[in-house]
């Protein structure tokens, strides 16, 4: 597989040794006096900097050290301070990580915004402001993002009173119809609400659109309708048992096992838990089933957006997904909310009789190439489809990187980035498969990438089944020894990501010595990918915006968490 190929040389960047590892001392020299202190996180080193030097530090790191991927921004409150952490990576090699830690005093939590360097920081910082209460100076548009504008207090701050009623003053109930179509200062345009209750928005997404004739002059996705503060739920659950059922509910469209893996990977690395090889193979196989199911639904609903035909392709997609769900039901006991992974392994071995189970999978795999060809016939080789999606919703790679796009969205813009290969976990680096990229940068490429990825996933599954069939009976260890109550050492911090169905799904955990995380942050790929919508849609027609939205494949449960 492509792992064997040498990585593109990143030695030109400052702070990389000849072996391709990061040299943190050199990086610290590069930043000079900006670095106030250095911290050790499990995944990377953290450089503590002053809150008014964020932009300078981030742009130096991006331009001179090659950290072009701002994966996530985590904010949290300590007893004595607020802290924002910028988790930086490289698209060329995501194992080269660096955290930029920005502490701010409790009585004046103001820090400079990083949105001038990384576009993706704009939404991340809005979320940090909304939920934790850190304010970002020079931020282009600092307002709440997940909670309503009228919300009082910041739910993840320490002194937030959960029982405080949220009072909405009368003026908020002004007649919304009055100003509905007027845009201030621009008489030639019209304001239109798209969503939140429209099937084409793939859930409860509200897109505030300003139209100039038929074209989109300005677009602003309004999210948060499905916000459940999953991060807080996880902070209230124990590592060992209570967190695992919830990842299934972030991206609830079949991708549950991939999400569970994100939590499992972060927590296992945090608490030094090994996973038996046999369990890793089962994980890899079942996770790829999840990926196929999720991509199937993405392609099926995309076809629905393009053709508007509810009967054929959508139903074919659902039918094929059903086969996968039956397999996963036999394995995990549930069709969507699997709760199958455990820290240190999986809940159960394959169902008995194993031969029948393998046969079921083989039947699916035998049928699969023909099925995929049908999707290609129905979609990619169909001129009507091409007319609608080729060269619409263009997302240039530089913009994609700046907005932190990952997954099929990034790969459809020609960015060769897949954590399964670049930051290997599970059993992926032992198997033969390819990372799919496409240089088209348009709606068409993103659909093609998904279709081809399903083919690769089937390859992975096939190899896993071969391995599982021949696995010696006395070595079928599904779970390593994990204490009943897990208490990772206090003040350990980790940020780990896996390749979810929609892209890089990252988890940040800080432990405080108890059996529950002190801070649990979810880096949702859909959240970042959705930020690219204005790039793709502005200047286009409304139907092309709908196509672009469909090609992003967002799940609002994961955007809003």
């Amino acid at each position: 597989m492509s792992l064997e190929e040498p990585r593109p040389p990143t030695e030109s960047d400052v702070g990389v040794t000849a072996e391709g590892d990061l040299d943190y001392d050199e990086l610290a020299d590069l930043l000079g006096d900006h670095v106030v202190d250095r911290e050790q996180h499990v995944n990377a080193e953290g450089f503590v900097i002053r809150p008014d030097e964020v932009e300078a530090v981030l742009s130096t790191l991006r331009d001179e050290a090659g950290f072009d991927h701002c994966s996530c921004v985590t904010a949290q409150e300590y007893q004595d301070r607020y802290e924002s952490i910028y988790h930086l990576k490289k698209y060329d090699d995501p194992t080269q990580e660096l955290s930029v830690v920005v502490p701010t005093p409790r009585d004046n939590p103001v820090s400079q915004s990083g949105a001038g360097v990384f576009d993706t920081a704009e939404w991340h910082e809005r979320e940090a402001y909304d939920l934790v209460g850190v304010e970002y100076e020079d931020h282009p548009d600092l307002r709440r993002i997940l909670l309503p504008e009228t919300w009082q207090g910041h739910p993840l701050s320490l002194d937030y009173n959960q029982d405080q009623p949220q009072i909405v003053p009368l003026r908020e109930h002004a007649n919304p119809m009055e100003k509905r179509t007027k845009v201030p200062d621009d008489p030639d345009t019209m304001f239109v609400n798209i969503g939140p209750h429209h099937p084409a928005t793939h859930g409860v997404l509200h897109v505030k659109t300003t139209l100039d004739g038929e074209q989109i002059a300005d677009i602003d996705p309004d999210i948060g309708y499905l916000h459940r503060c999953e991060e807080q739920m996880c902070q209230q659950g124990t590592y060992r048992h209570q967190i695992m059922p919830y990842p299934d509910r972030w991206d609830y469209i079949s991708a549950g096992l991939l999400n569970e893996w994100a939590y499992a990977r972060a927590a296992e690395d945090l608490a030094d838990i090994d996973v038996p090889e046999y369990a890793q193979v089962i994980r890899t196989m079942s996770a790829e089933f999840s990926r196929i199911a999720a991509h199937l639904l993405a392609v099926a609903t995309f076809a629905l957006d393009i053709y508007g035909d509810f009967t054929a392709i959508f139903m074919y997609g659902i039918r094929d997904r059903e086969v996968i769900q039956n397999i996963l039901e036999d394995l995990t006991g549930q069709r969507l909310m699997f709760n199958y992974f455990r820290l240190g392994g999986v809940a159960w071995d394959l169902p008995e009789p194993r031969e029948e189970f393998f046969e079921q999978i083989r039947d699916f795999l035998d049928e699969w190439p023909e099925r995929l060809e049908e999707y290609h016939n129905l979609l990619t080789s169909n001129e009507l489809f091409q007319l609608r999606v080729v060269d619409t919703g263009v997302l240039p790679p530089e913009e994609a990187k700046s907005y932190g796009a990952t997954g099929p969205v990034a790969r459809g813009s020609g960015i060769d980035y897949d954590l399964r290969r670049d930051d290997p976990y599970g059993y992926y680096d032992e198997l033969e498969w390819d990372v799919i990229t496409d240089d088209g940068c348009d709606n068409f490429s993103r659909a093609v990438v998904r279709l081809k990825e399903m083919e690769q996933s089937a390859r992975i599954i096939e190899q896993c089944v071969d391995l599982l069939e021949d696995w010696p009976e006395d070595e079928r260890e599904i779970q390593s020894n994990v204490p009943r109550t897990l208490r990772p050492d206090p003040d350990k911090e980790i940020y780990r990501a896996v390749e979810g169905a929609k892209g890089e799904l990252g988890i940040y955990i800080r432990s405080d010595g108890t059996d529950k995380p002190a801070r649990f942050k979810i880096r949702s790929p859909c959240f970042c990918n959705l930020q690219t919508l204005p790039v793709m849609a502005e200047g286009e027609y409304v139907p092309d915006m709908i196509a672009a939205l469909g090609s992003l494949d967002i799940v609002l449960g994961e955007v809003d968490r």
Binding site: Q334, A347, E352, Q386
Partner: protein, 153 residues
């Protein structure tokens, strides 16, 4: 144009091949996997009132009331609030709480889903499937045991 024709041919093929994939529920019952997790069944004879299930439940679905001698008085479980994660069954040392494969339940109001001990005992086994056989083959459930015959106390 060729692509459009190919696409239409694909749809026609499926329209005419006469295969149906769907099931006419409720006339015909869908297949349920032996591992499927549905409504709980509780055995008072087995329970040792250790409260582990109550403690592990991620969303406080289980409520146990004991007297000051730690003898069980109530066992309540809200099957409408439950997320069917099966952690309660996983931690129970005596398999007193088990998820059957029953997936059908209806009620007029939400509070009818707050099952008490009696209601939980009366949840039937689904098609006589032993839920533990496929999940924890070395444990085996009490599907064969008559109600009330076993006394573990």
């Amino acid at each position: 144009m060729l692509g459009v024709l190919k696409s239409m041919a694909t749809t026609m093929k499926h329209a005419l091949d006469g295969n149906t994939f769907t099931v006419e529920y409720p006339e015909e019952e869908p297949e349920v996997s032996p591992r499927f997790r549905g409504v709980h069944k509780f055995s008072q004879e087995r329970c040792i009132w250790c409260r582990q299930c109550e403690k592990v439940c991620p969303n406080d679905t289980i409520q146990i009331v004991t007297d000051d001698q730690r003898n069980g008085e109530q066992y309540n479980l809200h099957i409408g609030q439950c997320i069917y994660c099966r952690l309660c069954e996983e931690v129970c040392p005596v398999d007193a709480i088990i998820l059957t494969q029953n997936f059908e339940f209806v009620a007029d109001t939400k509070d009818e889903f707050a099952y008490n001990m009696e209601e939980l005992k009366n949840v039937p086994w689904y098609k006589d499937i032993d839920p533990l056989e496929s999940r924890e083959p070395d444990r085996g459930a009490w599907i064969g045991e008559g109600e009330g015959e076993v006394d573990y106390q």
